[in-house]
């Protein structure tokens, strides 16, 4: 089913999407999208929504099992508190991606903004994965509590910019970040350390990247050509002693 979103107010557009989902649509194609907020929010069925144009902020918030494919760039706050499903963005995306994300996948082809993966978390089989193919801004993985963040630094529109910004992993206390090629250790927060991925890590990483490459028709071997490093927190309670010593 196709919906022409040209000039349609976000509430009306989302109402039409929800009605289509409720009526059992499996594929929904949105054309001429530009800036409409909240697309795909809270959708509980495994429907595929393809978006032509730039969707507005808070795409796929609270999404639970649907797939969203954005053929253009994305904006801020994609995948806020997302539970399950997948978002694929064939361009760049903005700040605060995957905020408190609890499951599912977020695949961005190019650059991402500030605070990507902020407070992602995981529980048992729910393990969110966010992969950014370009460069990232400051505070990558801020307050991260679980899940997997992967930064490739390969497909940037701004190759003159550093691969990642300052305060990388500030407050991180769970989960794992993989970065293709070296990281600038002077920009890492003191809460995190750099490690070699283990054989098991590499296997897991390869699985995630295989799926990513499939989405964008990339060659996995190209992506795996460089070594990856693994960044994990040194402590699960980085601020335990900030205000007073915790009783033992």
């Amino acid at each position: 089913m196709k919906i022409n979103a040209k000039g349609v107010y976000y509430r009306d557009l989302n109402q039409r999407i929800r009605e289509a989902v409720a009526a059992g649509a499996e594929k929904i194609e949105l054309t001429n999208v530009n800036g409409q907020y909240y697309i795909g929010d809270g959708i509980n069925r495994p429907v595929t929504i393809t978006i032509h144009g730039v969707p507005g902020n808070d795409l796929a918030a609270f999404m639970n099992g649907a797939t969203i494919v954005v053929k253009d760039n994305g904006q801020d706050n994609i995948g806020n508190t997302m539970n399950a499903g997948k978002v694929v963005v064939h361009g760049h995306a903005g700040d605060v991606l995957g905020y408190g994300m609890r499951g599912g996948k977020l695949h961005i082809l190019k650059d991402v903004g500030y605070r990507v993966g902020i407070h992602m978390k995981s529980f048992r089989e729910n393990r969110p994965v966010l992969i950014a193919g370009g460069n990232a801004g400051d505070f990558f993985g801020e307050y991260m509590a679980g899940g997997v963040l992967i930064l490739l630094g390969m497909f940037s529109d701004n190759p003159d910019k550093p691969k990642h910004g300052f305060r990388f992993g500030t407050g991180m206390h769970g989960g794992v970040i993989y970065v293709r090629g070296p990281v600038d250790e002077s920009k890492l927060a003191r809460e995190v350390g750099v490690f070699e991925p283990t054989a098991e890590d590499r296997k897991e990483l390869e699985e995630y990247l295989k799926d990513y490459c499939k989405d964008f028709k990339l060659d996995l071997n190209d992506v795996l050509k460089e070594k990856f490093v693994k960044i994990i927190p040194k402590s699960t309670r980085p601020y335990g002693n900030m205000y007073c010593t915790m009783p033992r």
Binding site: N34, G35, Y37, V54, N57, Q75, D76, G113, G137, D138
Partner: protein
Amino acid sequence: MKNKLKPTHYFEKDISNCGLTGLISKTGQLVEGSVIIKSITLMHDRGNGLGGGFAAYGIYPEYKDFFALHLMYENGQALQLTEEYLENNFFIEQGEDIPTRRISAINNPPVFKRYFVKPMQNAEYDDAIECKKITDEDEVVNHVMRINNEIEGAFVVSSGKNMGAFKGVGYPEELAEFFRLEEYKGYIWTGHNRFPTNTPGWWGGAHPFTLLDWSIVHNGEISSYGINKRYLEMYGYLCTMLTDTEVVAYMLDLLIRKHGLTPELASLALAPPFWDTIDALPREERELLTAIRQVYGSALLNGPFAILFASNKGLIGLNDRVKLRPLVCAEKGDCVYMASEEAAIREICPSPERVWAPRGGEPVIAMLNQGVN
């Protein structure tokens, strides 16, 4: 008896958070007002109807050698006193109503007039120019401060040459209709959709804030307002608009026009890198930034912000150092666009050659090409 639970509050989220947009044609091509209206209207939901406004450059070519004073009057007495004041201090080439349109969305607007003026060349003026090394611009700043401060109910909305600000209470698209903005053409435009957080939503408090040809639109809050305001007061700038953003306009006038800083250096003074970043830089850069932070500590803007500031020479976008407010930029041909959301740019420039998000504290500087204007 069944105890029926009632919701404790209204759960629908208010998504407002201020929106801004701006564009420049670096070759000085005039762009119709309808373009910026279209862009800011896309971000309608970022505001809440308590403020909207626009700044336009290149709109008064027939009076380009005169300072264009846009005045807002809350009452008849303010108008009378201000006009007397202007007659005593300025040569007035032309004075007229700013054309407006009666629309239902805009209630009880103040009266808007504009005057194309030059400082009066009397003995006092000659003395100031020759002995005190005061410029025409200094004279105008002086008078703007006096009108805003001393005449109850009169406010200078803008005071630059060949430019003007149009602002008030309402959504930006409503104010555009009220001010007949589609009738103007400019080579730089900025637009703002306001969601007032901790200062009143009144006609003078809408963005842009201006002084001479400086204009600022801002999304965020300047928590260093008190420090900035007291610093500016030492140089004769008086804050009268009840809103934090006002300090940015005066600060740029001080740093760039008075102290001769480049726009790059002024941006560094407003949003300097953190000390640990500065300490890691090569010696020359480290010394420069250390000097800037030491000399202009009171000019530093603390708190989250994305601002666009414009002058007759160009358009500059700047974020706070940790990028707590959105800002996206794009280029196509001779045009540079800057906005809170990429969609607001794509609405008026569907396929830009380049779209990027500047990093925190990294100014995006788009000046008119050499020789234009």
